[in-house]
């Protein structure tokens, strides 16, 4: 549809501004679906993308060292016979080193470009993505597309990873009470895997959490749902965990967080008798203590990092009061007392013998 439209307009040359005539013949353009930005030498940026994204040609990774992001786009056009177009850009993979210096320049460039969709996914990458990509492309041809599908899947179907798009990130960035967060992926030899959630102070990448801590962040803030929550220390995996979070700000010196978790016990590898009701109660209690301890630790860390990714600052907003500014809120947040309470409720076990396992041994 778009192409027809563009072709039609291309034909009507008297209507076009002569110096602006765009030729979007599909054979002549390369609508790339991701940019990857890394730090180059001497303050330069290393920009790369995979071409061609559409046709059957053998894919290759194009990398350039540039001062400006858009210079990369221009540079590709000089080295590659198709014109690179950003209309289908779906992902921006940003290296952690670049993110530590601040994301604002990158975000501004993306926001200014009217071709770029606000649904563009932003991802922080740890490790050398270019190297991984050029190696992996031999084995997996549509790797860039698969990564996009993965993010898209978990945006709609919550429960595993944090997914943030350009629009959300930009809103977080400009709001005084919403500190941005982004997913972090790391590269380990030939694996590109989700690691956790990254936190930002203004536009600068501060730190990230992973494992159980990331799960807690997802339960409390981003998703309120987890498909699986493994707790290895209790030898138990909880499934379909739904969180009801009730946060209360008692004046500005303490905050109490009550989390109600609903779900089921999906796996147990401990040596206690799972069929016994009291065992389940015990597991429940252990998990509760463990989660409370972990959550407090995570929140303490946020206070140390001076970030508020769980957006507690929004609790200070009242319908009939003036807004606080960011600095004032951070001052309160830094030495706020935190009280965490979990309440776990799990469905009884099904599909197994609940009396005893005796008849199995006979």
């Amino acid at each position: 549809m778009m192409i027809c439209l563009v072709l039609f307009l291309g034909g009507c040359s008297p209507f076009m501004e002569s110096h602006l005539t765009e030729n979007n013949l599909i054979e002549e353009i390369a609508p790339v679906i991701f940019w990857s930005v890394n730090k180059g030498e001497e303050g330069k940026l290393k920009v790369s993308t995979l071409v061609p994204p559409l046709t059957d040609e053998k894919k290759r990774l194009n990398t350039l060292e540039v001062d400006l992001l858009k210079q990369g786009e221009k540079g590709f056009n000089l080295t590659y016979y198709r014109e690179v177009k950003t209309g289908q850009l779906r992902m921006m993979l940003i290296n952690e080193e670049v993110a530590k210096d601040g994301l604002l320049p990158v975000i501004t460039t993306l926001l200014v470009d009217t071709d770029v969709s606000q649904r563009l996914y932003l991802v922080i990458v740890k490790g050398d993505f270019e190297e991984y990509m050029s190696k992996q492309i031999e084995k997996q041809e549509n790797l860039d597309y698969f990564i996009y599908r993965m993010l898209k899947h978990y945006e709609d179907d919550k429960g595993e990873i944090t997914v943030i798009n350009l629009h959300q990130f930009k809103n977080y960035l400009y709001s005084p009470f919403l500190d941005p967060l982004l997913p972090v992926f790391k590269i380990e030899e030939d694996k590109f895997m989700y690691e956790g959630t990254a936190f930002f102070n203004d536009d600068k990448f501060v730190a990230n959490v992973n494992g159980i801590e990331d799960n807690i962040v997802q339960l409390l803030a981003t998703n309120n749902y987890l498909d699986l929550l493994p707790l290895p220390e209790q030898s138990v995996t909880l499934g379909h965990v739904q969180a009801n979070v009730d946060t209360k700000l008692n004046d500005l010196s303490s905050i109490s967080i009550k989390v109600k978790l609903n779900g089921s016990i999906d796996e147990y590898r401990g040596d206690k008798d799972i069929h016994d009701y009291s065992t389940i109660k015990e597991i429940n209690k252990e998990a509760k203590v463990y989660l409370e301890k972990k959550t407090k630790e995570v929140l303490k860390q946020f206070q140390e990092w001076k970030v508020d990714p769980l957006h507690f600052g929004t609790l200070t907003l009242k319908p009939f009061e003036k807004k606080m500014d960011h600095e004032e809120w951070m001052k309160h947040w830094e030495d706020m007392e935190i009280d965490v309470e979990y309440e776990l409720e799990f469905e009884p076990l099904t599909n197994i013998d609940t009396n005893d396992g005796d008849h199995l041994t006979h």
Partner: protein
């Protein structure tokens, strides 16, 4: 030569057409830039408040509609003010109509240029939009009034597009806080002015009173139109607040179009293109109506009592086209001048909306006494 029945009256229109006409004339270009200027959540109350003021003005205008002078059209005005004054007022009105027309036309063209035809010359876009509007206008006042139904139906459904912005994960109640003004700045005054100007439109409808049935229900139809407009403005403004939050809203240009762009449809990726194209119907109705008023005004100012001619109308349209091209080059392309032009139209739109009905009613009162 065949007659050109531009201003013929074959039958009196039912008041329901006033609903369609007024509600569309109240939702033009300002709707698209409104959230950027209002920004703060408490402006919701200001919209409702100004809507109430607008309701009072509409009651005044409906008084005019039920007066005997209104049914006579031009002659009624002459009886009220005298021919000389009417001609001077009509001449002044030409400038006002041209200004209103230019802001809405150039504003719409800029949106089309920015979102759909980026590499097309804006002059061509102005030409095409005006051509369509001229075609509609050339069908006469009656058909233009009927066309308002199409304009209404083609745009009102777009409200449904904004429902997703009211649901999680986008919507958070705290985006609407604080609900009361904590400070009142120059920007707030500008917002107030913009809302006032946005609600204007009825001051142009009152010149069409001879085409409508004289009945007591006029005020009811006006109220329905005004109610629809208040609802639409509040609904769209809250949606944009939920989507952007007050902090980013002022930085976004054309927030509503960008919001539609954010929506995803499995069939068509760029819903904003359909929406902007539909707005063409809406804008061509408003511009067509303004063209008719302009041509009528020219004839009154020039004291021409003959039948309207095709050549006269075409000449009028060509002058408008040339004016638009010049304004686009000189004023609209420069951002600061564009802001000044928009501000000027805000002042004039708000002022005419307040003054025209007041002046008319005062004249009616004076006439009634003597």
């Amino acid at each position: 030569m065949k007659t050109f029945p531009l201003f013929n009256k074959s039958s009196a229109f039912d008041g329901i057409y006033l609903v369609f006409m007024l509600s569309r004339l109240q939702m033009l270009y300002y709707m698209l830039i409104m959230p950027t200027i209002l920004v703060d959540p408490y402006m919701i109350w200001v919209i409702i408040l100004v809507g109430a003021v607008s309701q009072l003005i509409l009651i005044m205008i409906s008084k005019w509609f039920s007066s005997e002078f209104a049914a006579k059209g031009y002659l009624g005005f002459v009886e009220l003010f005298g021919e000389r004054t009417v001609r001077i007022l009509a001449f002044l009105g030409l400038g006002l109509i041209l200004l209103k027309l230019s802001v809405h036309l150039l504003g719409y063209v800029e949106i089309v240029h920015q979102f759909i035809f980026f590499s097309m010359k804006p002059s061509w876009l102005i030409f095409f939009v005006l051509l369509i509007s001229c075609y509609i206008a050339s069908k006469g006042v009656e058909n233009t009034i009927r066309y308002s139904v199409i304009a209404f139906l083609c745009t009102i459904w777009m409200l449904f597009l904004f429902i997703p912005f009211y649901t999680p994960p986008i919507a958070f109640l705290h985006d609407l806080y604080p609900l009361i003004p904590t400070e009142w700045s120059g920007q707030s005054w500008r917002g107030l002015l913009l809302i006032m100007a946005s609600f204007s439109g009825a001051e142009y409808v009152l010149f069409l009173s001879p085409w409508f049935k004289r009945d007591k229900k006029t005020v009811k139809y006006f109220s329905v139109a005004n109610g629809i407009t208040i609802f639409e403005y509040v609904f769209l403004f809250i949606a944009s607040l939920l989507f952007y939050g007050a902090n980013y809203l002022s930085k976004s240009s054309y927030p509503l179009v960008n919001m539609v762009r954010y929506l995803q449809s499995p069939l068509f990726e760029r819903i904003d293109m359909i929406v902007i194209a539909m707005f063409l119907i809406h804008f061509s109705f408003a511009i067509g109506l303004l063209l008719l008023l302009l041509y009528g005004g020219v004839r009154i100012a020039g004291g021409n009592q003959n039948q309207p001619t095709r050549i006269g109308f075409a000449a009028c349209a060509i002058v408008v086209f040339i004016t638009m091209i010049i304004m686009n080059e000189l004023l609209w392309k420069d951002h600061s001048r564009q802001t000044k032009l928009i501000d000027l139209q805000m002042w004039i739109g708000a002022a005419t909306y307040l003054l025209v009905p007041v002046v008319l009613l005062a004249a009616l009162k004076r006439k009634g006494r003597t």
